[in-house]
C-alpha cells in the first residue's frame, strides 16, 4: 500500500528573498490535509562566510538574520497543524538559531517546539582542518563547510523533530530528508532519491519555478508578480512530483517555467551530483496537468558520490566601485573621456573596469574588449561606472577619491557620484572522503 503523497512547500530561495511568502504556502499545506513540510533555503555560497564573520563579532549570531521575519508569521500555524519545518537558516550557528526559535515560540505564547540541529558540516575545527588545508594553503580562511546530504535531516524528523535547523547541506536535501523520513525509502533507492532530489531542485530557488525570474513583457507574461505564489511539490511514493502553488497567488507554473528551473545551475543533466545521489534528467518529462500544475517524471538515479564537496571561503581584499552620470548633448563622449582620465590617474594599481551604463555595461568583459568594439554613439543619458579590486585597502580607496574628484577635474556636467568599498570573499573547493565527515543531529531545548 503506497504512502500518501508528501507536500513540501518552499518559502525562501535565498537569504534576502521575500519574507512574506510562507503564509499562503502554509495555508495551502494545511488545507491539503495531508502530511506536509515547509522548507526555507537561505544559504548561498558566500552567505555562510558572511554569517561566520557575524558570529566572530557576536557568538550568539551567525544564523539567518531574518529568521524571526521568516518564521514568526507561520510558526503557530505550523506547530498547530503538524507542518514540520526544515531549513539551512542555521548558517554558521545552527544552535544559536535553535535557541532563537525557542525564544520566538515563547514570545508568541506557543508550546516549546522540538528543535533539532544538524551538525557535521563545519570543518574549520580541530583535526578536520587537515582534510581541506592543502586546498587552502596561504589563504586567509573565513569558513570551511562540507555539503551534507539528507540523512541527518531524515533521522531528526523520524526522531520527532518539529523543526530541523541545518547549516550547510545541499539545497535539494532539504526536500529529500523529509521524503526519506515520510516514505521510509531505502537509503540506496537511487531512483526515488534522485526524483525527490529534482523535486528539491525545483523548489530550492523559491519563486524561480512559479513565475519569478521568468517574465519578459509581451513574450513571457506573468500575472501579479507582486504577490508570487511560492511552490509546493507533491512528492509521490515513487519519488516523482507535481509542482503547484497556493490558490489565489500570483505567478505561473507551466511546462516552460518548470523547464527553466529544472536546468538552472545544472551542468551535465545525466549526472547532477549531490551528496545523496547522482540524478539523471536526460530523459525527464514535464507535463502540464492543469492550471499551475506540472508533473516531472522520467528521472533516474545512480549511486551517490563517495566524497563530499567542501567549500572554503577566504578573504581576498577589497572591491572599489564608483559611478558618475552625464546627460544631454555629447553625454557619451564626456563619460568616455572621464573613463580615460580615471585610467591614467589609477595606472599601475591593477586592472580598472569601465562600464557605460545605458550604452554597454553588462555583456562586456573585464578587459574592455566588448566596450572597445561598440562604436561611439551619441547616448544622451550615460552613467560611468568603474571598478577595481586590490588586496590593499588604501590602494582600493584611491579609486573612490579619483571618481569623487571628477566633480571638479572631470568633464563638464558630471553629477551623482556614488562610491562604495566592500571586503571581498573568495571561495575554493575540494572534495573529501564521505567517511571523514560524519553528520549527526541533536535536540536543543533551551531558549536564547
Amino acid at each position: 500500500m503506497p504512502k500518501p503523497p508528501l507536500r513540501v512547500g518552499c518559502a525562501a530561495g535565498f537569504s534576502g528573498d521575500r519574507t512574506d511568502a510562507a503564509g499562503p504556502v502554509v495555508d495551502a499545506l494545511i488545507a491539503s490535509g495531508g502530511p506536509a513540510v515547509l522548507i526555507f533555503e537561505t544559504l548561498a555560497e558566500r552567505t555562510l562566510a558572511l554569517a561566520q564573520l557575524a558570529r566572530r563579532q557576536d557568538p550568539s549570531l551567525g544564523y539567518e538574520p531574518l529568521l524571526d521575519e521568516l518564521l514568526g508569521p507561520v510558526l503557530a500555524r505550523c506547530l498547530g497543524a503538524g507542518v514540520r519545518i526544515v531549513s539551512n537558516f542555521g548558517a554558521a550557528n545552527p544552535e544559536g538559531a535553535a535557541r532563537r526559535i525557542h525564544a520566538l515560540a515563547r514570545s508568541l505564547g506557543l508550546r516549546a517546539p522540538r528543535v533539532a540541529v544538524v551538525a557535521g558540516d563545519d570543518l574549520d575545527n580541530g583535526s578536520q582542518r587537515a582534510l581541506w588545508r592543502p586546498a587552502a594553503e596561504g589563504l586567509s580562511v573565513v569558513s570551511a563547510n562540507a555539503y551534507l546530504g539528507a540523512e541527518s535531516i531524515a533521522d531528526a524528523l523520524v526522531a520527532g523533530a518539529d523543526i530541523v535547523v541545518c547549516g550547510r547541506v545541499a539545497d535539494p536535501s532539504l526536500a529529500v530528508g523529509p521524503a526519506l523520513a515520510h516514505f521510509g525509502w531505502r537509503r540506496d533507492d537511487w531512483d526515488r532519491i534522485a526524483r525527490a532530489t529534482m523535486a528539491g531542485h525545483l523548489l530550492e530557488c523559491g519563486a524561480q519555478v512559479s513565475g519569478g525570474y521568468y517574465a519578459d513583457p509581451g513574450l513571457k507574461d506573468v500575472p501579479d508578480m507582486a504577490h508570487l505564489g511560492y511552490p509546493i511539490a507533491e512528492i509521490e511514493d515513487d519519488g516523482h512530483c507535481t509542482i503547484t502553488k497556493p490558490a489565489g497567488t500570483g505567478g505561473r507554473i507551466d511546462e516552460h517555467t518548470v523547464k527553466e528551473q529544472l536546468l538552472y545551475e545544472v551542468h551535465d543533466p545525466r549526472a547532477y551530483l549531490t551528496p545523496d545521489v547522482v540524478a539523471d534528467i536526460g530523459a525527464a518529462e514535464v507535463t502540464q496537468l492543469g492550471p499551475d500544475r506540472v508533473r516531472l517524471a522520467g528521472v533516474r538515479g545512480h549511486a551517490r558520490p563517495g566524497s563530499l564537496k567542501v567549500n572554503i571561503c577566504h578573504e581576498t581584499g577589497w572591491l572599489a566601485e564608483g559611478e558618475i552620470s552625464y546627460a544631454g548633448a555629447r553625454a557619451e563622449a564626456r563619460a568616455r573621456l572621464a573613463a580615460e582620465v580615471l585610467r591614467e590617474r589609477l595606472r599601475g594599481l591593477g586592472p580598472l573596469r569601465a562600464d557605460l551604463i545605458g550604452v554597454a555595461s553588462v555583456f562586456g568583459d573585464d578587459d574592455g574588449r566588448w566596450l572597445a568594439a561598440q562604436p561611439s554613439g551619441d547616448a544622451r543619458d550615460v552613467r560611468l561606472r568603474v571598478a577595481m579590486s586590490h588586496t590593499d585597502r588604501a590602494c582600493a580607496e584611491r579609486l573612490l577619491r579619483e571618481v569623487t574628484a571628477l566633480y571638479t577635474c572631470g568633464p563638464a556636467g558630471g553629477g551623482g557620484v556614488r562610491t562604495a568599498l566592500r571586503a571581498r570573499l573568495g571561495t575554493v573547493s575540494c572534495s573529501v572522503p564521505r567517511a571523514q565527515v560524519p553528520s549527526s543531529h541533536r535536540f536543543v531545548t533551551e531558549a536564547a
Binding site: 519578459d216 545551475e265 581576498t316 555583456f363 573568495g426
Partner: protein, 119 residues
Amino acid sequence: MGAALTVPLHRLAHGRSGDKGNRSNISVIAWHPAFWPLLVAQVTEAAVARQFAHRKPAAVTRHLLPTLQAMNFVIDDVLDGGVNDSLNLDSHGKALSYLLLDLPVEVPPELAVHLVGPS
C-alpha cells in the same frame, strides 16, 4: 516558397543562466517542438563560442535533452573569474542568457507561424 528568415534565437526559444564559480550554464528551451531540429542544427557549440568570444571561454559543451526540447550549454571560464573575482556589475552572469538568445537563427518560412514575439 519564400526565402528563409533570419531571426534572433529568442523568437524560437527561452532560457536562463546559472553560475558555479567561473562557469556559466545557459538553458535554451524551444517554444515549439517544430523548432527543435533547427535548434540542434544551428545552436551549436561553435555558434555559442562565437557569441561569447569576447569573454574568451575555455570550452563550450552542449547537452541535449530531446524529451524536454531543451539544451543546456556549459561555458567554462566565461565569467571573468566569477562572482568572487569579476569586476562586472553582473558578476554572476545572470544576464548572459540574453546574449545567447540574440544568436541569429535561420527559419524556413513554413515555421514562421510558430515564432514568438514581434518581428
